[in-house]
Symmetry: C2
Subunit: 201 residues, 2 copies
């Protein structure tokens, strides 16, 4: 059986990404797999595929808000629809890579805390000051991060990740890749689990 | 526990609708529920929501074809990607209502056979002659049906169903409603099952 890491591509503003984020590390561990997290910007993907955010779409938008909460209940995950939704996650994603290049455990803790700050505590994670706070709580040097957030190096780092996401075939979030097989959406968790159990079906 | 019928809205050209069609009657029966089938035309809904068919969408289209087959394997349902896809289902849907208004068991048998003709035997169900064949195999009078297919009465009958679909909030197929709760997609089968078991969660 393969022990290749699971690739988990997501946007911090995506409710279904949050649902996967709450499950994927444990699910991977039960099958001897590490998980590589990759926050990216859905907006960059939408330009390529010509698709649009869910919420402004008539009927589908209203259904989606209902389904976010119901899917969370189904998976026994606490969830609160954020007041500001969706929002820009540039600072949140850049901070992740800055942390990751220094201490990947710290980056993972920050990512989980950022999802929860948004989907449980209704914090505005589009605000760089909130992002820096969350990084500090995970153990980072807030002043260094705040200075790095606007620097070209970190802009380029995130841009490269968004390009890599598109190169994998990603068109929506969450996007999970296991041994080259792509799974889009939190509703693919049962298929992901079966794939890990059986090595493919 | 409610015994209200399950409402099942679908388009005959939708692979995920076919997957639900293969499961929903048995699932309903296990929970004391009948299922009302409603074929409609996705094109009519897309005009309202501004959404588009999956296949021409870059990346998402290719993923979808892969996911149709994988989701079928996951559910142990035989599936073959049709050569002509998607296709117009006006004749197929009109025939359903003509049958239904005469003998609803015959209409159900015809609907199941039509899905299988398309998704197993690669038959062109956009062809009225194929539709009439399938209805005859289900026990209908083929000449009467062939004459009715172009009549205003049957056109109006299907148009009314499409309007009713939009009035329920439907924006994509399959769309299953249980006691007022809408579920979009074959991937909501686990939630549908839990809803039927618990009366809501």
């Amino acid at each position: 059986m393969s022990t290749e890491p699971i690739e988990f591509w997501f946007d911090f503003t995506s409710p279904y990404s949050y649902l996967i984020a709450e499950k994927i590390d444990d699910l991977g561990a039960r099958h001897g797999r590490k998980v590589k997290w990759h926050p990216i910007l859905l907006g960059a993907l939408f330009k390529t595929t010509g698709t649009v955010p869910l919420i402004p779409v008539p009927l589908k938008g209203e259904y989606s808000v209902r389904d976010f909460a119901r899917s969370a209940r189904f998976l026994n995950i606490a969830y609160r629809q954020p007041t500001k939704f969706p929002l820009a996650t540039i600072a949140a994603a850049r901070a992740y890579y800055w942390l990751h290049d220094r201490d990947c455990a710290m980056a993972r803790a920050y990512a989980k805390a950022t999802f929860r700050a948004y989907f449980l505590d209704d914090r505005d994670i589009s605000d760089a000051a909130v992002v820096v706070d969350l990084a500090k709580a995970a153990g980072a040097n807030g002043e260094e991060l705040a200075a790095a957030l606007g620097a070209q190096e970190l802009k380029d780092r995130l841009k490269k990740e968004c390009e890599a996401a598109i190169a994998t075939g990603m068109f929506g979030a969450p996007y999970v890749i296991i041994d080259g097989e792509p799974f889009w959406g939190a509703d693919r968790l049962p298929q992901i689990e079966k794939w890990l159990e059986t090595g493919g079906f």
